[in-house]
């Protein structure tokens, strides 16, 4: 087979017998063997790839194939696949076997995709570099001395290095889009409530969404179409019928909040790249409008209050009593303390910060204030998306203020690491969909590092992202 182009083209190749599912999967398994020793995108490559490939082939031979049948997919290590290990890259779940399927895994199984394996991540998805995994540091395929971004860094590195054509990630503050930007692939964070979170190991429950990492916008759309929709097991999900439907381009206006983007801390080359890409869209016929989102500069601080509060609650279940790793102690309290001391540094820091901002004396100062900022930020977006005279259909941002940084560079300073999320967090805070699309490179030490261009759209308007994204890719 020539290099994988799109899911739809590969589907046609499979139907026309230009390639078999087994050949397709073998290609990726061989590449993983060849390259993953150095990149460490995968924590585990599944041993049943051949069996699943034969099943998918049978489905094709019987004429029952759908567009995703036989497509190999890598899955982030916080998404449950029944009877498979799922560790969230944590020592606390090192040998945990998923007792059920996540809704997304169930949907993909029904289409007979082939799961290649589980990909590395920051422990419990807390991080922006995939350096905080308990098991391995994933390297950026474009420069092995740099991070792939995170927390879905394994998934992004796998797609970018050609070790998987499609991967799933999860995005709480930018964990799909930022690694997609660092590695050079497409990353989608859907509307909060569009993809079921059932079977996703929770981090920040009001912010988490599962999203695909793909080689192009068309594949992102194919995966999103399958995964989105109502799930009785996640009460925040919407019926498919409420989502917007793209009526084709034309008169689309893109808002750019220059006041947030032309800032210290935004890399000079990244800013130039962004400006060039905005001009490119203007030449394509899009109307560009400067917009103001006055509360957005506070969203990163607010996010780190809200997410830590939610983390401290979600992490309380890891006590060594009911499942996961257990460390014996002389009494119950000691067992809790010793077991939970296996959490990595970042997880401990966030649990403690979360308990602090939720504690009686600080609740109003921190949690409620952050909640207020969230409300105001949502109103800011509502205004620009619905304004009678100056409405925009999408908002553009760089995905990350900087290109991929060096391994170890930001590891010691938590706030430096948090800054990596500055342009991605607003979409999680507001619950709106956002996509990062490869937008060229910047050069560092003679190496070309990918840079992502990010678009956000109103709630349930993923269609707008795909439509603009497709013309951006041309």
């Amino acid at each position: 087979m020539k290099e994988f182009q799109t899911i739809k083209k590969t589907h046609k190749d499979l139907l026309d017998r230009r390639i078999s599912v087994l050949e397709l999967c073998d290609l990726y398994i061989e590449r993983i063997k060849d390259k993953d020793g150095e990149i460490s995108a995968f924590l585990e490559v599944f041993d049943d790839v051949k069996d699943r490939a034969s099943e998918a082939q049978k489905c094709i031979d019987e004429g029952k194939a759908t567009v995703l049948t036989g497509i190999p997919i890598a899955v982030k290590d916080n998404i449950l696949i029944k009877d498979r290990k799922v560790s969230a890259a944590s020592a606390l779940l090192k040998d945990f076997i998923a007792p059920y399927d996540s809704t997304v895994a169930e949907k993909l199984k029904k289409e007979k995709v082939v799961f290649l394996g589980r990909t590395n991540m920051d422990e419990f998805a807390m991080g922006a570099s995939t350096e905080k995994s308990a098991f391995a540091v994933t390297r950026n395929p474009n420069d092995h001395t740099r991070v792939p971004g995170g927390s879905s860094g394994g998934s992004a590195a796998a797609v970018s290095a050609g070790l998987a054509p499609v991967a799933l990630g999860s995005d709480t503050g930018g964990s799909v889009r930022q690694p997609a930007s660092f590695c050079g692939c497409v990353g989608l964070k859907p509307t909060y409530g569009s993809v079921s979170r059932f079977g996703l190991i929770a981090m920040g429950s009001s912010l988490d969404q599962i999203g695909p990492l793909t080689k192009n916008v068309s594949d992102s759309e194919v995966v999103f179409d399958l995964l989105s929709g109502k799930d009785p097991l996640d009460s925040t999900t919407y019926e498919k019928s409420v989502f917007g439907e793209d009526k084709g381009a034309g008169h689309t206006t893109i808002g750019v909040p220059w006041h947030l983007i032309e800032q210290d801390g935004v890399d000079k080359d990244v800013l130039e790249n962004f400006k060039n890409n905005v001009s490119k869209l203007e030449k394509e016929g899009y109307k560009i409008r400067e917009i103001e989102l006055p509360h957005l500069k506070y969203t990163l601080s607010a996010y780190y209050v809200l997410v830590q509060a939610e983390i401290s609650s979600n992490m309380a279940r890891f006590d060594g009593i009911r499942y996961g790793t257990k460390v014996e102690g002389k009494d119950l309290l000691e067992e809790y303390m010793k077991t939970r001391s296996l959490f990595g540094k970042e997880v401990k820091r966030r649990i403690m910060a979360g308990n602090y901002v939720l504690s009686a004396g600080y609740y109003d100062t921190y949690y409620n204030k952050a909640y207020t900022v969230r409300r105001f930020a949502i109103s800011d977006f509502e205004k620009v998306f619905t304004d009678a005279k100056k409405k925009v259909d999408a908002v553009a941002f760089p995905t990350s203020p900087v290109p991929a940084f060096k391994i170890g560079e930001r590891n010691e300073d938590p706030v430096q690491m948090y800054m990596a999320d500055v342009f991605t967090v607003p979409a999680n805070i507001a619950g709106i969909p956002a996509i990062s699309i490869p937008a060229g490179n910047v050069e560092r030490e003679g190496r070309k590092l990918p840079v992502g261009f990010q678009l956000m759209a109103p709630w349930k308007r993923e269609d707008t992202l795909f439509s603009i994204g497709r013309s951006f890719e041309k």
Partner: protein
Amino acid sequence: MKREEIKHVAELSRIELTPEEEIALEADFKKILSYIDQIQEVSGFVDATTDTTVGELRNVTRNDKAEDVLPSKEVTELFPKIESGYLAVKKVLQQ
């Protein structure tokens, strides 16, 4: 956060810290708290406990009726420690 407060929050969080970790966290929290303090510049107040209209978030309810659940064997197999089919836990109440 002072050292004493760090120790207290760690205890509430059921996390055992080494003295080195306490020192490192003291420095980290200073940075983190001074960063998140930016939100104090925003005036206005929305009460998170009574507000129900956060953008598209909405309450969803269903009848309080048992639905499909995992077979108990699959759940008990996950227990780190098991005694005659029951979850084994260290004694909580002392004599």
